[in-house]
């Protein structure tokens, strides 16, 4: 078990390393001048050249990558004109745009995205497993058809439509909820939840359909298993059969998938974040890509990449924990 986790972790480090190389190469090849963008619209060529020099943009790719690795493992000193700014390891560098440390930027944004992802996951699991179970039990009935229709509609509608509708109805028309703005959990848990509610719902509605379908098919599959027949033949009530045996057998894939989805939310929640004005990683990424702000892009990519890779490992561990027949080797 421990050796399994260690081996997987080593694999994860390799993946992240490759990921960083790829991002460097891609952004090196991309057209546009980061110095010009960093300097602003009113800069003259001399000023731009100065910025280029300061950002060391003229160095060859491998030198820049080497500096990046140095910063990551040993920290890096940056001259700011007036003094020296020390950036502790792990240092992803400074933003081209505002000289802020990338680690700092990320640590400000990470809780926002994490709040969004975890909250939405709880909601989509409840919604997805609930509707999936219900449609499995009411197979062929009107309930199932209605539920299928709803979950399908949820998946088919883009998040900005659902999000806008939710904002329009609950914030603008009914005024039941505030227009979302992020309040840290540590500040006021109540305000945090209240503000996050709409983004959670928007994200969960989209994901729930997938979980509903997965739950439905695995519950149906488990209900057809021989061991369910055994418990029927021993007079166990249908309710106990579904709750204790069918759902138990249907859950492992659902749990494993949700770990994966949660990981990928870190890299893909930009639409939701932008729509609801949440200062999360997705929003940071969008801005950084627009500005060719390489250190920020690399930082965010590595953090979201790590989230996905770690989620993968957790998904496998959860699978093994929920299904004792699986041994990790």
């Amino acid at each position: 078990m421990t050796s399994y986790v260690l081996r997987r972790a080593a694999g994860a480090v390799l993946v992240l390393f490759v990921l960083s190389v790829v991002v460097y190469a891609v952004f090196y090849a991309v057209p546009g001048d980061p110095a010009k963008l960093a300097c602003g619209p009113r800069c003259n060529p001399a000023q731009i050249a100065q910025v280029r020099d300061q950002l060391q943009l003229d160095d060859p790719l491998y030198t820049r990558y080497w500096h990046f690795l140095q910063g990551l493992f040993a920290g890096h000193d940056y001259s700011t004109g007036t003094g020296v700014l020390h950036c502790n390891a792990p240092c992803f560098g400074l933003s081209y745009q505002n000289d802020q440390q990338v680690t700092e930027l990320i640590s400000q944004r990470l809780p926002v995205t994490a709040s969004l992802g975890f909250g939405a996951m709880v909601l989509w699991l409840v919604l997805g497993i609930g509707t999936g179970l219900l449609s499995a039990l009411r197979r062929g009935g009107t309930t199932e058809r209605v539920l299928t229709w709803f979950t399908l509609a949820g998946t088919a509608t883009p998040v900005f439509i659902i999000g806008l509708l939710l904002l329009m109805v609950f914030c603008a028309q009914l005024q039941w909820l505030p227009f979302p703005s992020y309040v840290p959990l540590t500040e006021s848990p109540e305000q945090w939840a209240w503000n996050m509610l709409l983004p959670w719902i928007a994200l969960a509605l989209i994901e729930a359909a997938k979980y509903a379908r997965l739950t439905r098919s695995s519950v149906l599959e488990t209900l057809a298993d021989d061991h369910i027949r055994t418990f029927r033949a021993y007079g166990v009530s249908e309710r106990a059969i579904v709750g204790r045996h069918a759902l138990r057998g249907a859950l492992p894939p659902v749990i494993a998938l949700s770990a994966l989805d949660l990981g990928s939310i870190f890299g893909s929640a930009m639409l939701t974040e932008t729509l609801f004005g949440l200062p999360g990683l997705g929003q940071l990424m969008v801005h950084a890509v627009r500005d060719i702000d390489l250190p920020v892009v690399v930082g965010v990519v590595l953090v979201t990449g790590a989230a996905v890779v770690i989620a993968n490992i957790i998904a496998d561990l959860l699978y093994a924990a929920t299904d004792r027949r699986v041994t990790l080797t």
Binding site: D225, D226, H227, R229, T230, F231, R232, A233, Y234, G235, V236, S237, A240, R244, H245, R248, G249, T322, D323, R324, R325, T329
Partner: protein, 626 residues
Amino acid sequence: MSDQRSIRPLVEVAELSVGFPVVGGSALSPAGGARESGDGPDAPPAPGHAGAARAGTAGRGLVRAVDRLSFTLEAGNALGIVGESGSGKSTAAFALLGLHRGTGAQVTGAVRVGGSDVLTASDAELRRIRGGVAAMVFQDPLSSLDPYLAIGDQITEVYRVHHRSASRRAARARAVEVLDRVGIPDAARRSRARPHEFSGGMRQRALIAMALSCEPQLLVADEPTTALDVTVQAQILGLLAELRAETGMGLILVTHDLGVAASNVDELLVMREGRAVERGPVRTVLSAPREPYTRTLLAAVPRVDARRANGANGANGVSRASGANEVGRPDGPDGPDGLDRPDGVRKLHGVRDAGVVVGSGEPAGGKPLLEAVGLRREFGKRGPRVVAVDDVSLTLHSGETLGIVGESGSGKTTLGRMIVRLLEPSGGELRYQGREIGRLRERQLRPFRSELQMVFQDPVSSLNPRRSIGESIADPLRAAGVLPAPRIVARVRELLERVGLEPDWYHRYPHEFSGGQRQRVGIARALAPEPRLIVCDEPVSALDVTTQAHIVRLLGELQRELGLALVFIAHDLAVVRQVSDRVAVMRDGRIVEEGETDAVYDDPQHPYTRALLAAVPLLGGAEAAA
């Protein structure tokens, strides 16, 4: 209630019919995929006839699996329901517990168990009957238990359904008690294990313990030992007899194995196509069957205590002896082939000698076709390796059949796969026609691939469901690349005809065929590249006895005609006896005994061989069948 029981029989079934609605041409049956029945060139495939029971179509879109079946069982008695797959025996057993309720099946007639009418009982009443009055033990003990929950918890749950006042603690204690009673060692600790941590026999014991925990008056056992090894089967049957003597519960034993029924029930009910063919005391039915079908069924059962009859002994030069064989020897349904080894030859080889190669087709001492010396195979990369085959040596001549018997996990399949080089041996030598092939790489093996072929156990999963059978048979021909494309089709049609199928079925798909027909396709595919050696891995164990007899006879004919060397791997000692010239008994990866078939069976030298043979349930007085 006890008064009522003394007046009324424990089980009364009257005019029971069970029909399954036909959906898209196939019947939906909760009884699950029993094995396919029907076989032989005389049984043309009816497209889309898959399904456990398809006894006859009654009314619109309804397949009658059980047709006006009536029987009774007195308390404490044991009734065996026997029949081939699709005969409706499991469907009938399921009806006793009302398991067809809610499945869409149409059940008519009357079923009374322990005085209650199962078909009209309320859901709550039915739940009380299930387990409380009649408990069921299923065929596959692995899939019949919840894989996620500890065995003790599953028994606890069922116990509390019927003893609502029992505390969780008391129920747990009861679970441990019944597990201990059925012979699970260290029951308190083992009750926390999950099913996959139990062996097949222990799982079946656990399922019996579950039944026992409810103290039922009737135990319905649906093929309880079919998935088990023969020695484990003997233990389980022994346990059932013991528990019956102790608790006085009645037993309904559903089985396809007449031998199992013979020694475990008082009365026998023979079913065919949903109807009762014959019913009576077990001795009478087995020794003096009234109905021709019962006789056919009995005749098809391979007998471990009878010498080989319809010879598959493939002597090219051996003369066709007269049909004078021993009395009471069972034959295929179509009677004896009239082929046997001349008595002189039998006597000549009657002396068992492991050192001397006994070949029937060629003079002893001739060059063997295949020779294995110290063959070994390990599995696993890290940690302790599993040795599947250990130091196995054997020889095989053209025209000869070597039977390999052993229980599950004995390494017989691994050995078979090494012989055709589907697996590479980890050690030892494997020589084919004097040439070492054990270490050859795939490319160097190419020329040998056509010569070494295999027939697999499961004719369903070993055929690609998305390719027509003709294409499947053509595959090895294309791979060999010898024949031009137009000739391949002609050759496939030839092969289809040779194995007793219609050449025009080239374009049909596997699901359109019965189990026996699919196995014929598998044989045709093995024959296609004109091999000299075929390894048959449990070729008939998924088939009904009458179908088994057909397939075994086909293999024998082909062997004689083509001078093939056959390796016949099976767990069924009786089948192996009926087809083999020599037999090797495997245990834990080693051959513990090898010799001329009759010598091994009549005078086993190794204690394990003796234990195996002793565990085979015998039919007893079925002599009159012939």
